[in-house]
Symmetry: C2
Subunit: 191 residues, 2 copies
DNA sequence: GAAGCTTCCTAAAGGGTTTAGGCAAACAGG
DNA sequence: CCTGTTTGCCTAAACCCTTTAGGAAGCTTC
């Protein structure tokens, strides 16, 4: 009588990620996911501990995807090429998958974060700097600066911050990458 | 019999902002606010259109406060002093009022945003660059860079991004401001 | 002290979350 | 096969948050 829908945690998380891109990460709800599979809400609780668990898993998926894209983009590149490639991975991913990108910024507890693809992303971020001549601790400062710029720019841009004013966002992005490259090649000594 | 609680929109928004700082902006709920005033939920709907309205008003309050702090901090300063002062206003506000800071990033519709203190903040941000020698369109690119760095750094820091690793966040922040100052004084020509 | 406005209330409907317990489909092994 | 176990999805119910409708008590003013 009642055909099985074939639910698994993986398929639910995947569908949850698509839902996030469509309606926004904070609109992702166990109920909405159940509707999408044409199944009663309670059925999902055999595959997901709770609503928070769903969001965490979507976040982990997004981090994996970003890390994969970044690893591919950085292969065989260095210096400004690497900088640009990594930056564009962040920006392109955020524009293609706004819900997932938001998910990737979802706070994780320390243990979960340590086991996530977030550490791979951090390593790749640091790898960019191998093409520049920076010793510790300036290298770490630079990593944090790059992370801040990429995250900040993409956040503001997707929030519509630069939409309705000249010059267009594309140009600013290119010039900001020029500026960062220049800064990394001429990192100031401690005053 | 039933004493009046003396609710007004202003007091509700103020209390909502405090609540946001205590439990997080997205945990701010009409019900929680009613509990805080020891009043039935429905009573608040004479003062607030709905839950979204509450959040928007908290966002506007936060923007006002940040603009006020920034204006005071920038008075009589220029160049790196102004850069540092403005940056610290953002960071200090976010640490003192994490819920409000999140609220300030809450998306507003165009009309609301145009009438908010957000435009004052944008003007002040641009005013920092008067101490540096940048012509348009590079000035706009630089404004966007600064906004991205401040927002990005503060977001990552409050999310715990730099908490458990050396060198400490304080030092990175100082060196990043050095680096930005240096970059603004040596802004690269278009390649 | 009555009129009218304001402030807060009760009541109710609708939706999301989560748990407990049940029945039937899928899958083993004999 | 067909029988026992596991698994997958169900119903039912409790709880919380949102929002609207309509009522009653307090404050103001004359």
């Amino acid at each position: 009588m009642m055909a099985r829908a074939g639910l698994t945690t993986e398929r639910l998380v995947q569908a949850g990620a698509e839902l996030a891109d469509e309606v926004g990460f904070d609109q992702v709800t166990v109920s909405a996911l159940a509707r999408r599979f044409d199944v009663k809400v309670a059925s999902l609780y055999s595959h997901l501990r709770n609503s928070q668990d769903l969001k965490t898993r979507i976040a982990l998926l997004a981090l994996e995807e970003m890390a994969d894209h970044a690893a591919e983009a950085l292969a065989g590149r260095s210096g400004k090429e690497a900088l640009t490639a990594f930056a564009n991975v962040c920006r392109d991913y955020a524009r293609a998958h706004p819900g997932r990108y938001t998910a990737a910024r979802h706070p994780l507890d320390d243990a979960t974060a340590a086991g996530s693809a977030g550490v791979r992303i951090a390593q790749l971020n640091r790898a960019i700097l191998r093409g520049y001549d920076l010793a510790e601790p300036d290298q770490t400062h630079a990593v944090r600066l790059l992370g801040s710029v990429f995250h900040g720019y993409v956040s503001l841009e997707t929030a519509g911050g630069f939409a309705h004013s000249a010059p267009d966002s594309e140009e600013s992005w290119a010039r900001i990458l020029d500026a960062l490259d220049s800064l990394l090649r001429n990192w100031p000594a401690r005053p």
